[in-house]
Symmetry: C2
Subunit: 448 residues, 2 copies
């Protein structure tokens, strides 16, 4: 009898799990379940459709139905998994037509993702509070703009909040972002680096209010603004970008253990506390490569890596997940901002003593036309001098510098080794002394 | 008495040596000698001035006279070092005015660079054969273009050859490049990768002739073309780009030992075979990080790193040079081409067995407008599965991918570790699955 693999959730983690399972076991019966109409679209692209960089939401559907046919994956859209029976090894499903059924599994992969989080704010039940998680969310915001919204208020200055704010501003709206913490991008950046991003956004005309919690969402039935720090901000469009929380209810109901981060606890094979059940993507915990402690990194790259490992294991193969560093990147207008490993603040909270090195340089030779500024902050563990984090803001070529430092962290490179590293140079693409190397040199100067 | 440091040669290696020496010993007497009129200009920028991307050759002078004044470096331009007396510890100088003098040193740094190499070809003594090494060379080519040259023939398809060919084509000339070896960029790329570059250049209208040695340079007194592979190619402008050879005569005359590469032999402190004499830059040998054998890498980045180490040591400090990988990059039209570590061919010659992985991907999410193609070839040592080289051709963000792999090689990352690496993702700047990771995955598939 062929192995029956059931996967709940059909985005980055779920689809990659299904694909990896198929490549591992060509005869398995693979069922992929999603309560959405469209599987396998790119959430990360949503703000860029709103901003008009991508012409249509449908462009984001990276896995069309033909893909699932080709991979012989039994795709069940608009179907909700309502319960997992770990004794009988079955999943209860509710179909769109109202009918229900129960399907058996040999291996089960939970990829239930995460949902926008709304803190207990007065007025949070009002209508017309938008979030940006699904294609439908994106279409709703797009429609509100088309209906004539002129002003927007975004609650939360994380990546999604800022990307959405920019998308709306690019569509001509006056945008205000309110953030409870005293800086933008608090998970990615330390305050010194975040300041540069905040100033850039303000220069572009976005109103940034930091250090003020949203106390109330105002409006009759429909949200028409917020009160934050005692001041009222009115807006035609109110967007909630407080972040997301792992969808764990289905797993919890089945007795599957959660971890310290309140996401589903997993081991290196992405197995949960219950045999033959795996968890992947935004609902699943990982181990942080630097701290070696549980970490929840809800990024697309982590999701696909989780999915691949779980898919191989669920299909009878053997694969390990090696941990997360939280490497992340975004392009805000023409500025790339990226981060990997621990910020100075996160290191402090983990009681790791650090030395940092921060430098400003250019992305091309000084004399080459079009050279753009780039700023690098390197975070180094004080005793071992090992690199444990980096934050980079620049006009180009930030992403791969983040990846370079991610590799360095994973291979325990020291600041001295980085300061001595062999790097490439040509006037149109970089400076003779690579900014990463200069940042390492700054660290060494402080260590002397 | 202050320490007397004499440095012969005032480009990347010499100037960085002088600067590092000054930072190490604030009271040293530092003398920097060059037979050129301008010290400290960027040779790497020359082709881009010819192409019109940089408005003037003088823009390339990155270290103006004020720099040397500020650093209290005694700069002697248009002054030739004619002999080193290692017994008395003196250097003989010949001034522009014809006069000569002898100056003493406590530490001597040889940064005599390299000179264009001309093989023993019939007609090589003819006038009007241009090379591109100095500001004067660049100005001469520029003048020839201004004087109405319509066609150019470039001998040699290395980086300088191709960059110069492109610069001339951008100025409107019909350009032919002749290369003895069967591919372009033979030091950077394997034949399979070089093919893509050759096709791109041909599409842009450059005539590439590979696998044909130049047999004769023709013309009455002035070169007016070449014969290669029995065929004559006429041109208004004949450019020699056969590569450069280390300038070692001064060192050899002083009894300083050369290494296997025929450049000046050095140890990790950049010391030569004679006490208190250092060698740096294009005239000095290094150790290759992968092969651990002598290697001559004549790049600006190596030169500045050499210079820094020698400058610190010559001034009484302590610094080690950790070796070279040959990381290099160029932008040819809108295509970036980069390389680090060993090519498959170089590995074969070093009797290292390899597995390679080559993939083609995009520089942005597939659905994001403006995504450009990128091709990665990864070279892995077969038994240890350690990464030992990479070649990348792509529309953007190639440089830092080269640096990322350089770091990976230096920290002995395996293909498996790279395939599992934590990377950053956002639709405008990269794909979910990083091309470097996919190339590593290709290697693993072959290893299974």
């Amino acid at each position: 009898m062929p192995r029956r693999i059931v996967i709940i959730g059909a985005h980055a983690a779920g689809v990659d799990a299904a694909s990896a399972a198929r490549k591992t076991d060509r005869t398995a019966e693979i069922t992929l379940i999603t309560d959405e109409k469209h599987p396998g679209y790119s959430r990360c692209g949503l703000p860029f459709v709103i901003g008009g960089h991508i012409s249509s939401f449908s462009n984001l559907i990276v896995f069309p139905p033909a893909y699932f046919q080709m991979m012989k994956i039994n795709l069940r859209t608009e179907t909700k998994a309502t319960a997992i029976n770990t004794q009988n090894k079955t999943v209860d499903l509710q179909r769109k037509d109202g009918g229900s059924e129960t399907i058996p599994y040999d291996s089960l992969i939970i990829a239930t993702g995460a949902s926008p989080f709304m803190p207990p704010i007065k007025g949070k039940e009002k209508q017309g509070i938008y979030s940006l998680r699904t294609l439908g969310d994106g279409e709703a915001i797009d429609q509100a703009v088309k209906n004539g919204a002129k002003t927007a208020l975004v609650m939360g200055a994380g990546l999604i909040g800022l990307e959405t704010a920019i998308g709306l501003q690019e569509r001509g709206l006056q945008v205000t972002v309110v953030e409870m913490l005293p800086q933008v991008l608090p998970q990615m950046l330390d305050a010194d680096m975040a300041k540069a991003i905040q100033e850039m956004l303000e220069q572009k005309g976005i109103n940034i209010v930091v250090g003020k919690a949203v106390e109330e969402i105002v409006g009759a039935e429909k949200a028409t603004g917020v009160v934050a720090g005692g001041q009222q901000y009115n807006a035609d469009l109110v967007v909630s970008a407080f972040g997301v929380r792992a969808n764990t209810q289905l797993a919890q109901n089945a007795g599957i253990a959660l971890g310290d981060t309140k996401a589903i606890k997993t081991n290196a094979r992405m197995e949960t506390s219950i045999k033959d059940i795996y968890a992947v993507g935004d609902c699943a915990e990982s181990v942080h490569i630097v701290t070696q402690k549980p970490a929840l990194m809800q990024f697309g790259t982590v999701a696909v890596r989780h999915g691949k490992v779980a898919g191989i294991n669920a299909a009878g193969g053997y694969a390990l997940f090696t941990g997360v560093l939280g490497s992340s990147i975004s392009r805000l207008y023409d500025t790339d901002v990226g981060s990997t490993g621990l910020t100075e603040g996160a290191a402090q909270r983990a009681r790791i003593e650090t030395i940092t090195g921060t430098i400003t340089s250019k992305t091309k030779a000084d004399y080459y036309p079009g050279a753009l500024p780039i700023k690098v902050k390197l975070v180094v563990e004080k005793e071992s001098q090992k690199i444990i984090g980096a934050q980079i803001i620049g006009g180009e070529e930030v992403t791969q510098r983040i990846n370079a430092i991610s590799f360095a962290i994973q291979k325990q490179m020291t600041a001295r080794e980085l300061a001595k590293a062999d790097t490439a140079y040509a006037p149109p693409v970089c400076e003779t002394w690579e900014p990463l190397v200069l940042a390492a040199e700054m660290v060494l100067m402080k260590l002397r």
